[in-house]
Each structure stands twice: as C-alpha cells, then as structure tokens.
C-alpha cells in the first residue's frame, strides 16, 4: 500500500519533468510517430508506459512493468531520501485555504473546509485537514471554492483560420498548431473562471482535424499543454456544405478555396464522413476513432444532422461519439441517451431568432438531456471565451439541476476532453485549478475573485 502510493507519486513527478523539460515544445506529431519511444498515449503528458489514455484507469495500473520489488525498493529509497531532505529545502510549495465552502463536484459540498495544495497539486481536502508546518495559510472567509471550469469546445486563443483548405478531410492536422500562447483570450477566459479548454478546429471541413487541450496559464505551448490529441473533430451542417464551394461561394467561416470541391450539400457531407471512416486504415487518427481510443466530435445543430452523426457512428461501431453544439439535441434526447452520445452544448442562439443552420434552439436543452441521462458539458464554440458559468446559471433557471450544471462545467467537460485524471474536480492528486467565488457559483450576482492554476493565482479581479 505504502509502496504503491510512493510509486504513484514518483511516476507523476516523472511525468511533470517530461512535460516541462524533455517533451518537445508542443510536440504535434501524431501518436503513431511517437509510438516507438515507448509512449503510445495520445497525450504528450501521459506517463511513458501507459498503454492508452483512459481517464478511468489510475496511473499506476498502466505501469505494471515498473512495479517490480526491486523498483519498488529503489523508489522507496529515493522517496525516503527526498522525505529526509524536504524539510531542509524550500522546494515544496504548500498553500492551504481554510474556512471555505468547498464544492468538489466529485462529491458533496464541504462546509467550512480546508484545501491543501502542494507543488500545484491538491494534497488534501476536507473539513478537518492537518496543515503541515511551513504552509502558507489563507482564510477564505466562508467564500466558495470550486474546480476551474473546462470549456469543452473552444476556438479562442488561436491564430488565423481554423479551417484547413487543402482538403475536406484533414484528420492529420492538429489545432494546437494555431495556438497563440500570448493571446489575451486566455486572460479573458480566466476572468470567466475557465482554466482549461479543449480547442477544436472549426466546422468547414467534414473532418477538420485533431482537438487539443490546454490550460489558460503558461507562456509557452509546452507550459499550457494538457493533452495533445483529445479527439477528432468532424462536422455536418451548413458550414460544411457551404464552406468548400470554391472562391465564389465562400462560407461565413472560410475565405473560400479556388478549388471547387465537395461537399456542397448535406448528402455529400454525410457521404464524405462515411468515406473517411470507411478508409480509416489510411489514417492513424481515424483508426483511433474507430477503435475508440479517440472520441469523434461531430459538430451539428439541426436534428437531421444529429441523427446522421449517430447513424454513422452506429454503422462504423464508433465507441465514443461527442456531439458538439447540438442546438436541437432536445429533439432526439432518447436517441442520444440510447447511444451514449456525450453532448457539448453551446447555447449561443437566442430562441427569439432562428438558431444556427436554421435550428430551433430552446431554453432547456440541458435539462431535457439531463433527464434522459445524457452526459453533457458546455462549450463556447466561439473565437471569444464565453461566460459559461452564467450560461449554466440560466440553464439551471430553465430546468437543469444545480449539481448537473456544476458537473457539466467541470468534470463532464474534463471527461469528454480526456483530461479528467488531471482536472475537473477537487480531488487529492489532481491539479490545483480552482476558483474562489464570492458566493453560490450559479447566482449571476456572484463574482469570481481569484483563479488558481496549478496552485498559483493566475487571475485576480480588482
């Protein structure tokens, strides 16, 4: 037991070192090029020996070869040495926030609780937490702490066009190639309480490319990076059908291409997606989608397109389908529940006007999906960060339960983005990404006072 614990700590420390120093600066090579180094995971952050990126699996499980007795003893020795040296060095940075209302999301609210942060990770959380000597202690004065929000479908902080024009099927490109780490968007996102975002390609291509997950703090791509490939983004709908019509039919989101090519219609968009998946053997990324090691995100608004996405996923037995936007998802909630489709809602449309793609958005899509047991998250789906917390607050007014709203904002979004082992809830061992709020997070009058990423204050409202 003791041994296993130390082993896990060691591995995670190793993982951080790799991330900060050894991992190439935002290595955008697809996973098949990196396989030989012994790391088959899609995330550059994944520990070297984990077979697959499965958030449900604890880290140590993937590291069975390491867990020999010899290794165990060796590591135990090393850790013992560290433990002896620790009081002498000032290396361990500890912060305790006490007298806070803690909303861990993964569990029930803790009144008058304490959260202990060590070296950027949550070390302990609860009503009675022993605070080691030499810890910086902050009194929250009864204010609320919740995990940082995860935006599960974002386009901000990226440069230039988010649609590749070379082809209508581009699974080989990664959105993080467009990342602009110095963009002010990341500060704006922090002001909305968003600490992590799954960045996705836009929807003019049938298969737009790979999604990547970054944190909102850090000066270089490597510092921001959480997961290099978090999914493959596809799209069905008007953008897809109109975007590729050549120079003279430039869609709203594209410059237009000089090449006249498919798709120009919904049927061709569906046909392209089907063809791409049929020929998945040609693309390691689409192979990963078919075998379920990567989720397939499909952006769709109207019921027709949503049903088409589910049909295709069914045809190709794609295990992990994520519906992005889903303005009319409420019309086929049963279908989405039955196929275990996860939905990243973007309530960007005002029901007073017609929604995107001529859809009819309603107020309570989130609540209706919750009622059917569909896993939901929120995504800004915009070049600008969005007030996701306020959206969730309105979703609660319209019928979503408050617990489901907080979960959708954090843990669900982290799960969909494949980073739930690092962020999305206040749990021991997870990154200390959290929000200090003046009151109930789902009240519009509540104010985000401080935002922590990796245990550091990265945003403070004046």
């Amino acid at each position: 037991m003791n041994c296993k614990l130390t082993l896990r700590r060691q591995v995670s420390r190793d993982g951080r070192e790799r991330d900060g120093l050894k991992s190439p600066l935002c290595d955008l090579r697809p996973s098949f090029l990196r396989k030989r180094s012994g790391c088959e995971g899609h995330s550059s952050h994944a520990t070297p020996c984990r077979p697959k990126d499965d958030p449900a699996k604890p880290r140590s499980e993937g590291c069975q070869p390491l867990a020999t007795t010899a290794h165990c003893l060796l590591l135990f020795g090393v850790v013992l040495l560290f433990a002896l040296l620790l009081p002498l060095s000032a290396a361990a940075q500890r912060l305790a926030i006490r007298n806070a209302r803690l909303l861990p999301v993964s569990g029930v609210a803790i009144e008058n609780g304490t959260i202990l942060i060590e070296n950027g990770k949550i070390r302990a959380i609860g009503a009675n937490v022993a605070i080691p000597a030499g810890t910086q202690v902050v009194d929250a004065g009864g204010k609320t702490i919740m995990p940082g929000i995860v935006d599960a479908n974002a386009h901000f902080g990226l440069r230039d066009t988010l649609n590749e024009q070379a082809s209508e099927v581009t699974p080989q490109i990664n959105i993080l190639g467009q990342l602009a780490p110095r963009s002010g968007d990341f500060t704006h996102a922090l002001s909305y309480g968003v600490t992590t975002a799954c960045l996705t390609p836009d929807s003019a291509n049938v298969v737009g490319g790979q999604c990547g997950v970054v944190k909102m703090a850090g000066k270089t791509p490597a510092q921001m990076l959480l997961k290099n490939v978090a999914g493959i983004r596809a799209a069905l709908g008007n953008d897809t059908a109109n975007g590729n019509g050549g120079f003279f039919r430039a869609g709203a989101n594209t410059l237009g291409s000089i090449y006249l090519r498919r798709p120009n219609s919904r049927m061709a968009a569906v046909w392209e997606l089907r063809k791409a998946l049929d020929e998945a053997a040609k693309s390691p990324m689409l192979t990963s989608v078919r075998n379920g090691s990567l989720p397939l995100h499909v952006s769709a608004h109207i019921e027709n397109d949503i049903r088409a996405a589910v049909t295709i996923a069914d045809e190709f037995k794609i295990p992990h389908l994520v519906l992005d936007e889903g303005s009319e998802a409420y019309k086929c909630a049963d279908l989405l529940a039955e196929h275990k489709v996860q939905v990243v809602l973007t309530p960007s449309a005002d029901p007073q006007t017609e929604g995107p793609d001529g859809s009819s958005p309603i107020f309570n899509t989130a609540g209706l999906l919750e009622a059917k047991g569909v896993l939901i998250a929120f995504g800004s789906n915009s070049n600008d960060p969005a007030p996701l917390l306020q959206w969730a607050s309105l979703a609660v007014k319209h019928g979503l339960s408050p617990e489901a709203a907080l979960r959708a904002l954090t843990l669900n979004a982290a799960t969909i983005s494949g980073v739930a082992e690092r962020v999305g809830s206040l749990e021991v061992g997870k990154d200390a990404d959290l929000l200090l709020l003046s009151g109930d997070p789902l009240e519009l009058t509540t104010h985000i006072e401080k935002v922590f990423v990796n245990g550091q204050v990265v945003y403070r409202a004046e």
Binding site: R182, K397, H398, L444, T445
Partner: protein, 418 residues
Amino acid sequence: MPNRVLLAARLLLAGFALALSSSAFAQQSGILAIRAAKILPVSGPEIINGIILVRDGKIAAIGANLPIPDGATILEAAVVMPGLVEAHGSRGMDAPNENVPVVPFVNTADGVDPVNVAFEDALRDGITTIHVLPGNGTVIGGTGILVKPVGSIIETMLVKRPSGMKLSLLPTAGRNRMTQIQELRRAFDDFQTYAEQLAERRADQKKKGEPEEEYDPRQQAMRDLVAGKLTAYLYCPTDSDVTRALAFLDTHKLKSVLVLGPDCYKSAPLIAKKGLSVVLDPQMVLWETEPDTGKEIRHVIPTYFQRAGVKFALQAQPGAFGTRSYWYQAATAVSYGISRSDALRAITLSPAEILGVADRVGSLEVGKDANILLLTGDPLDSKTWVDRVVIEGKQVYDRKTDTRLSKLLTGKEAPDAP
C-alpha cells in the same frame, strides 16, 4: 418563418384577449390590489408586506399593510417592482436603417411590426416601456416611438410619438469618420438655410399680404430637434467620437442623450461636465492590452460612469438563451461590482428619466402608471421568473398561460392557442 410569425400573432392576440378579459374583471370594482411580501419601489426603500392599490390604471396607494377595499381584485406575489424600461433599441424592426443617410422625417411607428415575437419576449422579461429608434446605420436616422408591449396594433402600443431623433457617428455605407460628421453638419446647415429662406419668403409674403408658405412637413422633426423640443439620441461608437459629438452638440445647442460604445468610458468625466445622460453598450466589460507590458486590463464600463456621476441606463444584448434579458445585465453588473440599487435603477427609473417619462413610469409611486411586475423572487436572483405583468392597471401577461415559454422549456409544441 411565416409559421413563427403566425404563431406569434396568434399568441399576441390571445394575450390581448386575455388582457381585455382580465381588465373587464378588474373594472367590476375598479380597484386592483397587489399584495407582496416585498415591494421594491426603486424610488424609495423597500416595503415589507406591502400593498399597491391601482385605480384607473394609476397607482392610487402604496405602503405596508394598507386596507384593501371591498370588491377589489387581488393579485399576490413574492416580490413586486416597476416594469422595466428599455432606453434604446430597434425592437420589432426588421430593417431599422434607411439606405439614405439623412432621413429625419421617417418614424419607426411606420416600420415596427406589432406582432413581432420580440414584444412578446419583452413581456416575459418584464419590459413594459420600450423605446423603438432607428438603427445606427445612417447619419440622421429618423424619429422613434415609445411603446408598451400591449395589443397587436401600433395604436394600442403607443406611449409617445415622436420620442426622439437618432443621430449616428458610426461610419457606414462607405463613409469614413470625416464624411460621417460632415454629412451630419451639412444636414443641420441645410436645415438652417431652409429655415432662413423660408423666414425671408414668409416675411416677403406677409408684406405683400399673400398667404404665408407652410412649413414643409418633412422638415418638422428637424425643426423640433433644433428648437430643443425633441431629444437627439446620438450614437458614439468609439471614444474618439465623443469629443466630436460634444463639440457638435455645443454648436447646435441640442437636447441630447449619448448612446455609447464600450470604450467611451474614457470620456465619462467629460460627459459628466456637460451634464449629459448616457445609454451604455450591452457589452459591460472591455478588455484592453497595455502596450508596454502586454498585460490585459479589464474595464467594467458602468463603474466609470457611476464614479463620474453620470446617469446611465443599461442595454440588454442579443445572445445565448436568456442573456438578452435586463435581469441578466443587472445581475452581472452587480457581479462586476455595481451596487444592487444602482443596477436596478439602471433598468427602471434611470432610463425613464433619460426618456423624459419618469412622471409616468420607472418606479412605483402614487400617481404613476400602474406598470408593475409580479415576481417569484428577488429580481437579481437568477432563478426568479416574471409571474405576471400589469400595464396601466391591466394584467397583460401570466406565466401560466405563456405557451411559448412552455415550448422553450419542454421542447414540445403547445396545443393551439384558443
């Protein structure tokens, strides 16, 4: 979407029928009594266990534990407050801008669609007084109207016509900032020339004993504007426009309200010195990058005007579900540090004062129009609903019979309205 328009028309007609029937009911005794756990009059301190008595569409009495006359119709609510006032917008207009840059003679009453679903939304969101102005895409856009969202023809809706004139410094249609303000100056010079020549002709005609030439009706609105009988709603999209706007207003001595873009917060002290009131942009937060350090700085726009002592009204923005509402604007303003009372004032009494109708609407005071919202809870609580709306003493909205709201919440088409 003809279907949607038909539906809207049906719903509004239904609402109108309901309004008529309920008013007929109320008129049996002539008195409507509204009893609330809490009354927020906006103009004064809140009243616990308060009662409002309404007679002939006006507030006859307001206070704690007032006796309710026999035979009065009684409505109950958790919280009661005045109907909201929309200070600026083009609600119900599908084409708010004329193509020609100078059109002072047009009026939005001729363009507004009374059965536009936006008026129905207004009731659901508790807006009882709406300023419908031309858009910002012209130079002199025309005059506006003040309406209440009641009935399906413009005549039943009108509160005031004309309400003010739209002037805009936003360069559109190929104009740049220089030509934009030049067009504006020229329009005023042209009117001046017209007025002087007319005066000469009329003096001449009088001397000759001939009938005097009438004022050209197309020039009437400009005449009122220049005489200070009509307020100019001058749109300044950026801060640089404010200085030019103030100089222009000085030259022509116009009565004016400034409608401001987000970065105009820089001119708040200047605007305060001129004693002008403003309508703020729906975007209440502006981020700016410090050029030297690259640091992002967050500006909360209303705080600058609050500090400078400028009277301001908030605007709601089109956007995600429910963010269009003034509740959302006021509550988020509070989260940004505006005081609760200032936020509520900025969507009720302040816009009423800015529009010059504070003698009739904007607060709950004896003698004012009985435009009253019956809420399920505190207005800034995000879960609060508008339960009923009373306009001029008549109940015009009931959440229980709001079929469209039911569709927006359940996703199911409601059975046809009767």
